[in-house]
């Protein structure tokens, strides 16, 4: 049996699945139920000076009948008294000594940081997460992403926290920056034991087209919120990998952003995350989703012969490269499996309108029979993947490499050494 336990910056947990700092980790009763369900850790909903929230607080994007592929919120940090939170953290830790309880924090002054860190550790926190990410409400008060967007402030507050803490400190980074690297390096310089990313993305989730007010609506007004959910995963993966592959960045990463199942979690770990945090999918489906996450990860590790998470964490990082290093002579063409093709012709219309006009209805071909299986004009196919993406039948369309006789040659090689490039396709 593979070992699913993890160590993220010195914070240990029986598996890499943590609740992110958010409504599902708002109270002791919730976190304890999550641990009972199988979650390996939880980052407590951010503590600070308790705030007052609005109603409503959440908004979502539905797509073609699928609910909430993207989600946003305008909820702030904890609205519960600090002493209640600390009491519940204490009780939770007592009941679940081997699970990771990380306490998310957001205050303003050094004195406040010093005090809240002490109280958190006294309550039994296994680690701290500094919330430098929240892009709504708190940033207007000079906290959250207002800190995360300023590397100097980030570094300074991180160094305070590290100084006052006896447990590992993670810095939660905001994606609302043009390049994540300087911010990750600032946390590292401040002495952080690790970073977690991404926090939510500044967003307006939707507009009520009858009331002429954005959503979520609070009376007659709305405000920008933090975007999350399945749809943000690509942004999170990029920022994660940007740090993971940097030679200058050397501390562990807890991955966050659009993780809904074990596959997503594996992708995050392959790009360098040593734990993963989930909020939105739990908000939508409940703590119970962790059963499949654990089982799916376990089966995946067995199928690949991984004994420990260390063997897979970061394994895809070396394959994340620059465009200039890609092999321009690598050529693929689309092949349609006529046995499984259902004749919907979605590939035809996508290729015609959105790609290179190289997939044609069979009836337009001289060799036509009564079939609706489209014909790929291989001499024109650029191997772009669009047909495979729109095809509703799994594995019906595959992109098959072809041997064109050209040796591998990247753009960078071509610029420096004059490597020979194959003739362009579809460029007339």
């Amino acid at each position: 049996m593979p070992d699913l336990s993890t160590n993220c910056g010195g914070i240990r947990s029986p598996n890499p699945f943590w609740l992110a700092s958010a409504p599902p980790a708002n109270s002791g009763a919730q976190v304890q139920r999550a641990f009972d369900a199988g979650w390996g850790g939880a980052v407590w909903k951010t503590l600070g000076v308790p705030i007052q929230n609005v109603s409503s607080r959440f908004g979502a994007i539905n797509y073609s009948g699928t609910r909430a592929i993207g989600f946003n919120n305008i909820e702030l940090i904890t609205d519960r008294p600090l002493e209640v939170n600390f009491k519940e953290i204490y009780e939770t830790k007592k009941k679940f000594p081997k699970h990771a309880v990380v306490v998310s924090l957001m205050v303003e002054t050094e004195e406040e940081w010093k005090e809240i860190i002490k109280r958190s550790i006294d309550a039994g926190a296994d680690g701290l997460e500094l919330n430098f990410g929240c892009p709504h409400g708190m940033c207007e008060r000079g906290m959250g992403s207002a800190v995360g967007q300023e590397p100097k402030v980030n570094e300074r507050i991180t160094s305070w926290a590290v100084e006052y803490s006896t447990v590992p400190v993670l810095v939660k980074l905001t994606p609302n920056v043009s390049d994540i690297l300087p911010h990750g390096l600032a946390a590292q310089r401040g002495g952080a034991h690790g970073v977690s990313l991404i926090n939510t993305i500044k967003s307006i989730i939707a507009v009520d087209i009858d009331r002429f007010v954005p959503e979520p609506r609070v009376g007659s007004l709305s405000t920008n919120g933090g975007y999350c959910g399945a749809a943000v995963k690509p942004i999170a993966l990029h920022m994660l990998a940007r740090l993971a592959r940097s030679d200058d960045f050397n501390i562990p990463i807890s991955g966050i952003g659009g993780i809904t199942n074990w596959r997503d979690a594996v992708e995050f770990m392959l790009l360098g995350a040593s734990s993963v945090q989930v909020c939105t999918e739990v908000m939508l489906k409940g703590y119970r989703i962790v059963e499949d996450m654990i089982e799916g990860l376990d089966e995946y590790m067995q199928s690949h012969g991984f004994q420990t998470l260390d063997q897979l964490i970061g394994k895809a990082v070396p394959a994340y490269s620059e465009w200039g290093d890609l092999d321009l002579n690598y050529e693929t063409i689309a092949k349609i499996d006529e046995k499984t093709c259902i004749g919907c012709q979605l590939c035809v219309v996508a290729c015609h309108d959105g790609a290179h006009q190289c997939i044609h209805p069979a009836k337009e071909s001289p060799a036509a029979t009564a079939t609706r299986v489209p014909i790929v004009d291989e001499s024109e196919c650029v191997g772009c993947n669009l047909c495979k993406i729109v095809c509703p039948v799994p594995d019906c369309i595959s992109l098959v490499p072809v041997d064109n006789g050209f040796a591998a040659a990247s753009w960078n090689q071509h610029l420096t050494g004059g490597a020979t490039l194959r003739p362009k396709k579809g460029a007339h």
Binding site: G65, C341, I342, G343, C344, L346, V348, P392
Partner: protein, 436 residues
């Protein structure tokens, strides 16, 4: 004007066999549609409704646009949504079938969109600028309605001659009530004619109350949409006994009035086509305790739709196959049917006679044709009783067009709608109009 039909009718006891979608069910089903390109469902539809487009519009909440897409192709989209054999047309060709996934319920979605249009009073089409031309249409069934609507959009004045007091043709008098009841068909006919400029002459039989020559003189073009004639009879002894009816004739009575069925313990329907299957399902639904369909061939050879026959089976109907009546017996009315077994070639086997009790018999072996009513007009060809036309409905006589059952020998409402519309466009060209 169309005479109102009675509110208390035998057919009123029937519920819809296919339940109606509510908004949330429609949304879920609409979102399953793959939005195929050059979609097989659209190709399968005789009126070529852009099915993926109307379904996408349901999914986006553009219900009015969805109804517009349907009616643009087929003005009878409301009734077609209910009565089309979608299993062998659009739904049967849904690509999901190729995947072993349940096909999109196109009929139910079409009903959802078109019913909203009727409910909300949405209208999409206006009469065209008057051309000064006049077209006479014989029959007020689906073919003529579709033709008249299209002709009005193109600006031609229309007069519809209907021998019955009610309009809608077989859609009103012949549709199985668990698919659509007569009032709905009359409502549709009125909705279609509400485009305006159609003079309706009910109770006027062409050839009797007005001659073909008069019609030709009065109008610049004529569309013939008279459908089919009375039920074909077997021609066996006792067929004139009370209780032995033509199926279409009896179905019309249960559609438009009250049918007296007390004392009918067993009923026999003769035939293997869709009218026969409708007949047995209707009699079973009206509470006749024992209903049997007798067909001269094997069960698998029945020309009626298999899905319809399976539904009849589910309703408890019995089948007597390789059996054909040779006589009806009884005193004041039919009491027994004498039948004979048939062989693989559907030929009677000597000595194989048997009898079945039946107090009611429906003969559903086909309908006579009406093409011969045009035989006095030179140039119009009639073949097997059907009016001969070109692809778009033009007969061999200048200005005379035909569509629907009298042209195609008896098909679906949707075929009549398609032929009526195509003929209207051909009439428009004949009258000097440009392609619509």
């Amino acid at each position: 004007m169309s005479k109102p039909i009675p509110t208390d009718r035998s057919e009123s006891v029937f519920e819809d066999y296919k339940h109606e979608y509510d908004a949330k069910q429609a949304l879920i089903e609409a979102n399953r549609c793959l939005y195929c390109s050059d979609a097989p469902c659209t190709q399968a539809c005789p009126t070529h409704i852009d099915v993926p487009e109307f379904i996408r519009k349901i999914a986006t909440g553009n219900l009015k646009g969805s109804a517009r897409t349907i009616f643009e192709a087929n003005i009878l989209g409301m009734s077609c949504a209910r009565v089309c054999p979608v299993e062998v047309l659009c739904v049967g060709d849904c690509v999901y079938n190729q995947m072993g996934v349940p096909p999109i319920q196109i009929g139910k979605l079409q009903r959802h969109a078109t019913d909203r249009a009727y409910e909300q009073g949405w209208r999409f089409f206006e009469a065209g600028a008057p051309t000064g031309k006049s077209v006479g249409l014989i029959g007020a069934g689906p073919a003529s309605l579709a033709a008249a609507h299209e002709l009005r959009r193109l600006g031609h004045a229309c007069t519809v001659y209907e021998k019955r007091p009610v309009i809608g043709g077989l859609n009103t008098t012949g549709i199985a009530p668990y698919k659509m009841r007569a009032d709905r068909s009359v409502q549709e006919a009125q909705w279609v004619l509400a485009i305006g400029g159609v003079q309706l002459e009910t109770g006027v039989e062409v050839g009797k109350d007005i001659t073909l020559a008069e019609l030709e003189k009065k109008h610049d073009a004529v569309f013939v949409g008279v459908g089919l004639g009375p039920d074909t009879r077997l021609g066996v002894p006792g067929e004139d006994l009370p209780g032995v009816h033509g199926a279409v004739e009896l179905i019309e009575r249960l559609k438009l009035g009250k049918l007296e069925l007390s004392g009918v313990k067993s009923a026999l329907v003769v035939g293997g086509g869709n009218t026969a299957i409708d007949g047995v399902r209707e009699l079973a639904g009206l509470g006749v305790p024992s209903v049997t369909l007798a067909y001269r061939g094997a069960e698998a050879q029945m020309p009626g739709y298999r899905h319809e026959w399976l539904a009849a089976r589910e309703a408890g109907v019995a089948g007597a196959f390789h059996a054909v009546p040779i006589g009806f017996e009884g005193n004041a009315r039919v009491e027994r049917v004498r039948l004979v077994r048939t062989d693989a070639q559907k030929k009677p086997i000597a000595g194989s006679e048997f009898t079945l009790d039946a107090q009611l018999v429906l003969i559903a072996i086909g309908q006579s044709t009406l093409g011969q009513m045009l035989s006095g007009l030179s140039g119009i060809g009639v073949q097997n009783g059907s009016v001969v036309t070109d692809d778009v409905g033009a007969t061999g006589r200048k200005g005379w067009f035909a569509g629907g059952d009298c042209r195609n020998g008896g098909k679906e409402v949707v075929n009549a709608a398609a032929e009526g519309k195509a003929a209207a466009q051909a009439i428009h060209r004949h009258l000097g109009g440009k392609d619509a």
